[in-house]
Symmetry: C2
Subunit: 254 residues, 2 copies
């Protein structure tokens, strides 16, 4: 049984808690949170504490807090002998400087309130400073997910950038598309099958081959009349630049 102490009470913490508590070979022995309020929802299924001096001994300490707080929280663990991991996509493993055994346990997914998620489907990006710590971390990850990857800190930074494109930026475009629908008095539901298919088709074809639309076809006339529909200067710039980026992609490669 892998004993885990979970530090932090946000969205990632909640998902990890549920998954680990229902796994066969790992158990959260304690949840640490800086405020008592955050701990309420955990009390029923685990021991909790907000006292840094009462953090239990464990095999693995998972720090699931915002990037800015990792440094503070890992100070509390500097005397512990267990493996200490953070869950951030963007922070280097060296952020955990004061602790003895360092690692990263990064679930590559977008976590929202009010949206349940099966961690089995979520890729876990793992890294440990000491090679001998890797099997333990991988064992924990495999308890809750079907896919794990060894990703070092340099790769993880790149991956985080890729995730910003693949999730944050695309979501903002969904938002812009929704606004356009609203202005045209059309329900957003009309776009949802298109959005879902755009994501799903990547199971079969590469994004390069999946590209469609006027910029891909080099259809200047359509592009001009689409761009004319946009009033806002910033949105006009974005439209022009992405169009340029698509055109360039296919000019270079075809």
């Amino acid at each position: 049984m892998i004993k885990v102490v979970l530090l932090g009470t946000g969205s990632v913490s909640k998902h990890l808690f549920a998954a680990i508590q229902s796994s066969s070979n790992a158990r959260i022995v304690q949840v640490f949170g800086r405020s008592e309020t955050g701990l309420i929802s955990y009390k029923e299924n685990s021991t909790t504490t907000s006292d840094p001096n009462k953090i239990k001994d464990a095999d693995i300490y998972i720090i699931a807090v915002s990037d800015d707080s990792i440094n503070f929280v890992c100070q509390l663990l500097k005397d512990k002998n267990g493996l200490v991991v953070h869950t951030s996509g963007s922070m280097d493993i060296s952020t955990l400087l004061p602790v003895k055994r360092k690692g990263v346990f990064y679930p590559l997914q977008t976590f929202s309130k009010n949206r349940s998620l099966d961690l089995q489907e979520v890729p876990f990006c793992l890294e440990t400073e000491l090679p001998e710590d890797y099997p333990l971390l991988e064992q924990l990850a495999k308890e809750i997910s079907s896919t794990t990857y060894l990703v070092n800190s340099e790769q993880r930074k790149q991956l985080h950038l890729a995730a910003v494109y693949a999730n944050n930026f695309t979501n903002h475009f969904y938002f812009l598309a929704e606004n356009i629908c609203k202005d045209a008095e059309l329900p957003f539901a009309i776009l949802q099958p298109l959005i879902l298919e755009s994501a799903k088709k990547l199971e079969q074809i590469t994004p390069f081959d999946a590209q469609t639309g006027p910029a891909r076809r080099g259809d200047k006339k359509s592009l001009k009349s689409l761009s004319n529909l946009i009033q806002d200067t910033l949105q006009k710039d974005i439209f022009a630049d992405i169009t340029k980026s698509i055109e360039r992609t296919y000019d270079q490669k075809l």
Copy 2:
């Protein structure tokens, strides 16, 4: 039984052909194509012709050709009494000027070679110049799809722009994300669950609420270190502008 003549042999034509031929109350009585080669795959299940003078009579003529060719093809139908519709997201209904009864039959979806698609799930955006033609077009659409919308030409232009954001631009970001993965020697598969979840979560929450990431949090430090990873000037501009657009969205609204 609604008799349909299909004009054009591209990707949209192929999908419509399969769906209509397997419907209960509509039938393609002929496929017209300007080249014999394009018609080969249709011969087994329908009559075909490449002779403009031999186009049969039908209740509905569906012009499924590229935007630039609609004008040419509808000239061939100017003496027909049936309803003539095009399938384009961007062309006004008036493009069909020479024909007597005009309409639009626009499936809002991304069609790729080598990717089958269930038209049942595809929203059909319908428009007819004469209100009395609408029921017939709607009846045809309902034979092959579970969702139909009345969308006029003005709305359709806006919708096309929304679709460019929701599909073309997001797909380009998948492509950029894939490139970043390649450079980091990581498989694109690592991003696919994230991409799928980003699309799926819109079934439950709005894009406004679904937004996550450093720009949403106003996390300047992360944004700077992400931007530093980008070398290309155009990509740097796109990154900065979309970041600005996200920041602005949450400043204005929160």
